[in-house]
C-alpha cells in the first residue's frame, strides 16, 4: 500500500535527525492547541505570522552564511540600525517611504558586502568581523540619533509588517508579512537549487576543492553575507512595521537567528543543511516563545526552559546524525566505533 509507505517514510523522516525540528514544532503546536484552541483561529494565526516573520527572514539570511561556513553576528544591530535609520529619514512623511526602503536595501547590502570582503579578502574570522560590525552599527546609529531613536515611520512603511489584504474569505486578513515570507522562502529554495546554491554549499564543505573547481570562493562567501544583510533589512522593515520604533529593536536577534538555523539541523561550520529546515527552526523558536506566554510561564524562568529545549533538540538531531553515519548503531557507542567516523571522514 503506497500511501501507507508514504506515511511510514514521513514517520521515519520525523524521527530522523533532520526531521527532529519538525517533530518539536508539531509537539509545540499540539500543546498550544490543547491549551488554547483559539490560537488556531485564522486571525490569531495570522498575527503569529506577523510576529514570527522577521525571525524567519533573518534565519534565511543566516542560513546562507552558515552553510558557507561562516557566522553573521551583526544582523541584530543591523535590524535595529535599519529601523531607527528609517524612522530618522522618513520622519513621518509618506512620500519618503519608498526612497528610504530602497536606501535601506542598499545599506543592508553594503553592510553585508563589507562583512564579506573583510572576512574573505582580509582573512578575518567572520565571528570577529561581524562582532566588530555589530559594535560599529550599534554605536554609529546612536551617534546619528543622539542616543535614542528620533523621527517616525510612515504608515506606508508600516503596512508590510502590520497590515495585509483584508476581507479574504476564511482567514479575514492575509498579512503582507506572510506573502513576503512565502516569496523569500521560495526564492531561497530556488536559489539553493541553482548553481549558486550548489557552489555555496560546496564552498562551506571544502573551499579548496571548490576553488580548484573554478568557484570564486571569496565572491560566493561575500554574496552570502550580502544576502544576510538584505534579509536583515527585510526583517527590519517587518519589525518596524509590526511594532514601530523602540531603542531596543533588534537586540540579541543574531543569537536567536543562529539558534534557529542550528535547530533546523544546519551544521555550524558549513556544508550541510537545508534552507527550509532553517526556516522551520525559526518557526520552532517563535512558537516556543508563544507557548511560554500561552502557558503563562513566569517570564523569568523562560530562558531556562528555552536553553533546555535547544540543547535537547540539537542533541537529539546530532545523535541521529552520528547514528546514521556510525557503522554500529548502539546507544552509547564505545570508543572504537567513533573511530569509524574518523576513518570515514578521512577515507
Amino acid at each position: 500500500m503506497s500511501s501507507a509507505r508514504k506515511l511510514a517514510d514521513a514517520g521515519r523522516f520525523l524521527i530522523s535527525g533532520s526531521g527532529a525540528v519538525y517533530l518539536v514544532l508539531i509537539a509545540i503546536f499540539a500543546i498550544i492547541f490543547a491549551n488554547n484552541a483559539s490560537f488556531f483561529e485564522p486571525a490569531n494565526l495570522m498575527l503569529f505570522v506577523k510576529k514570527a516573520a522577521p525571525l524567519l527572514i533573518l534565519a534565511v539570511g543566516q542560513y546562507f552564511v552558515i552553510v558557507a561556513g561562516e557566522f553573521d553576528l551583526s544582523v541584530g544591530s543591523l535590524v535595529g540600525a535599519q529601523v531607527v535609520l528609517a524612522a530618522l529619514l522618513i520622519d513621518g512623511q509618506e512620500s519618503r517611504t519608498w526612497p528610504v526602503i530602497l536606501l535601506m536595501l542598499l545599506g543592508g547590502a553594503a553592510v553585508g558586502l563589507v562583512n564579506g570582503l573583510i572576512t574573505t579578502l582580509l582573512k578575518v574570522p567572520s565571528i570577529i568581523t561581524t562582532l566588530g560590525m555589530m559594535l560599529v552599527l550599534f554605536g554609529a546609529i546612536r551617534l546619528l540619533t543622539g542616543g535614542a531613536p528620533t523621527g517616525a515611520l510612515s504608515e506606508g512603511f508600516r503596512v508590510f509588517g502590520r497590515r495585509g489584504i483584508d476581507d479574504v474569505p476564511l482567514i479575514g486578513q492575509l498579512p503582507w508579512a506572510l506573502l513576503i515570507i512565502v516569496a523569500v522562502g521560495a526564492a531561497a529554495v530556488l536559489l539553493m537549487r541553482s548553481s549558486f546554491g550548489r557552489t555555496l554549499v560546496a564552498v562551506g564543505d571544502n573551499e579548496k576543492a571548490a576553488g580548484f573547481a573554478g568557484t570564486r570562493v571569496w565572491w560566493v562567501r561575500t554574496a552570502a553575507f550580502v544576502l544576510s544583510g538584505l534579509s536583515a533589512t527585510v526583517a527590519g522593515i517587518l519589525v518596524g512595521g509590526f511594532a514601530g520604533v523602540t531603542s531596543q529593536v533588534g537586540d540579541g536577534m543574531e543569537f536567536v537567528a543562529i539558534t534557529a538555523v542550528v535547530l533546523g539541523g544546519v551544521v555550524l561550520g558549513g556544508g550541510r543543511g537545508a534552507v527550509l529546515a532553517a526556516i522551520a527552526g525559526a518557526l520552532t523558536v517563535e512558537s516556543l516563545f508563544t507557548l511560554f506566554t500561552q502557558l503563562s510561564v513566569p517570564s523569568t524562568i523562560r530562558p531556562t526552559a528555552q536553553g533546555l529545549i535547544i540543547i535537547v533538540a540539537v542533541a537529539y538531531a546530532s545523535r541521529e546524525r552520528s547514528r546514521r553515519h556510525t557503522p554500529h548503531p548502539s546507544p552509547k557507542p564505545p570508543e572504537p566505533n567513533r573511530h569509524s567516523d574518523v576513518a570515514l571522514s578521512k577515507e
Binding site: I127, L135, F138, R142, N206, R216, V262, G307, A315
Partner: protein
C-alpha cells in the same frame, strides 16, 4: 580567489594562509608589538590633551580594567585552543558572585567556604558544558548558549537584585594594590602563568593542542579527547568563577545583572586579538594577556579623552577587526617561504 585555493580545507590540517615559519612566537611578538603601538599612540593622544597616560591613576585604571576580562579570556583561550568556545562565561561569573557573597554573608569565617562554593559551582557548569558538547555532541556554540540561558533563568528568578555580602577582608581582592599593581591583576597574571605552564608543561596542556589541531589524530594517539575538552571547559568555567569572585569583592555583594556585560564575545575577541587561532590547535595565553591589555588600554584612553560612549563602540569594533586583519595579512605575505627564482616579469 587564488588565496582561497591555497587555503587548507576546514577539515583538519593547517589554517588558511598559514606561514611556513614558526607561528606562535611570531604572532605573540606581533601582539605585544601591537600593544606597545597602541600604548604609544594612546600616550601621545592623551598628552595632546594635556594629561599623562602613565600617571599612577591611569596605570591602576588600565590594570584594574584588564583583570576582570583577563580571567575570562584566559579560560576562553583554553577552550578555543581545543576548537571549542564558551558563551556561558557571563552567567557563570554572575552566579559565582552571588554564591560567594551569599555563602560568606559577611562573616570572615565563611570566606574560604564562599570561595570554594563559588568555584565548585563554576566547575560543575564547566563539567556540564563539556559533557553536553562531548557526549551529547551538541555544537559548543549552542551548548554553551543553552547552559547560559539555563543559568539566566535561574538568576532572573532567584535574584531580583543584588544579594549576599562579602567581608571587608575579601574586598581587598578588589581594591588592594601592590604599589601601582592591583591585587586582582597580580592574581590574573599568576593565573596566566599557571595557564602557560599547564599548556607547555603538562600532558593535559599538550593534549589540548592536539585535540584542537586534529581530534581524530589525538584520539588515534590514545588521547581521551572528550576528557580533554571537558577539562578545558571546567578550567574555563572556573576562571569565569574567579571573575565572579572579583565582582563580589568589588561590589561587596553578588549581582545577577553582570551577565549583561558582554564579556562572552569580548573575551573571544581578546583571545583572537591575542593571536590564538579560532579553529583551535594554535596560540596561547601569553598572547591573550596582551589582547586583554590592548582592550583595557583602549578603554582607559577613551575614558581619559572622554570619547562619546557610542563613538567608543564604533572605535572598539573597528580596531578589533583591523588588528586581526593585520595578523592575517602578515601570515599571508609570509608564504610561500620557498622561493627558488626571483619573481617579477622579465
Amino acid at each position: 580567489m587564488t588565496a582561497a585555493v591555497r587555503e587548507a580545507p576546514k577539515t583538519a590540517g593547517p589554517p588558511p594562509g598559514r606561514s611556513r615559519g614558526s607561528f606562535r612566537i611570531g604572532t605573540t611578538a606581533l601582539v605585544y608589538a601591537a600593544l606597545v603601538a597602541i600604548l604609544v599612540v594612546g600616550a601621545v593622544l592623551v598628552a595632546a590633551d594635556g594629561k599623562n597616560l602613565f600617571s599612577t591613576g591611569n596605570i591602576v585604571d588600565m590594570l584594574t580594567r584588564s583583570s576582570l576580562l583577563g580571567f575570562i579570556a584566559i579560560g576562553q583561550t583554553l577552550v578555543i585552543l581545543c576548537r571549542s568556545l564558551d558563551l556561558s562565561v557571563g552567567y557563570v561569573m554572575a552566579s559565582c558572585s552571588l554564591i560567594a557573597a551569599m555563602v560568606m554573608n559577611g562573616s570572615e569565617a565563611n570566606v574560604p567556604l564562599g570561595i570554594g562554593a563559588a568555584l565548585g559551582a563554576a566547575a560543575v557548569v564547566g563539567l556540564v558544558n563539556g559533557l553536553v558538547i562531548t557526549k551529547l555532541k551538541v555544537n559548543a556554540f549552542i551548548a554553551t548558549l543553552g547552559t547560559g540561558l539555563i543559568l539566566k533563568g535561574w538568576l532572573d528568578t532567584e535574584f531580583a537584585g543584588p544579594a549576599g555580602k562579602v567581608t571587608a577582608s575579601f574586598q581587598q581582592f578588589g581594591y588592594t594594590r601592590v604599589s601601582v599593581v592591583p591585587l586582582s591583576t597580580v592574581v590574573m597574571l599568576v593565573l596566566a602563568v599557571a595557564g602557560v605552564l599547564y599548556l607547555r608543561k603538562t600532558r593535559g596542556g599538550h593534549h589540548i593542542y592536539a585535540v584542537g589541531g586534529d581530534t581524530d589524530v589525538a584520539r588515534l594517539s590514545g588521547i581521551r579527547t572528550d576528557r580533554t575538552i571537558v577539562t578545558a571547559h571546567i578550567l574555563c568555567a572556573v576562571a569565569a568563577g574567579v571573575a565572579g569572585l572579583l565582582i563580589a569583592a568589588r561590589f561587596g555583594t553578588g549581582s545577577a545583572l553582570v551577565y549583561d556585560y558582554g564579556l562572552d564575545l569580548e573575551s573571544i575577541a581578546a583571545v583572537v586579538l591575542g593571536g590564538t587561532y579560532l579553529m583551535g590547535g594554535r596560540g596561547g595565553i601569553a598572547g591573550t594577556v596582551a589582547g586583554v591589555m590592548i582592550l583595557a588600554v583602549l578603554d582607559t584612553v577613551f575614558n581619559i579623552l572622554e570619547v562619546n560612549p557610542f563613538y567608543k563602540d564604533v572605535l572598539r569594533g573597528a580596531i578589533i577587526v583591523v588588528a586581526v586583519a593585520i595578523y592575517a595579512r602578515r601570515q599571508l605575505s609570509a608564504r610561500p617561504s620557498r622561493v627558488r627564482f626571483a619573481g617579477g616579469a622579465s
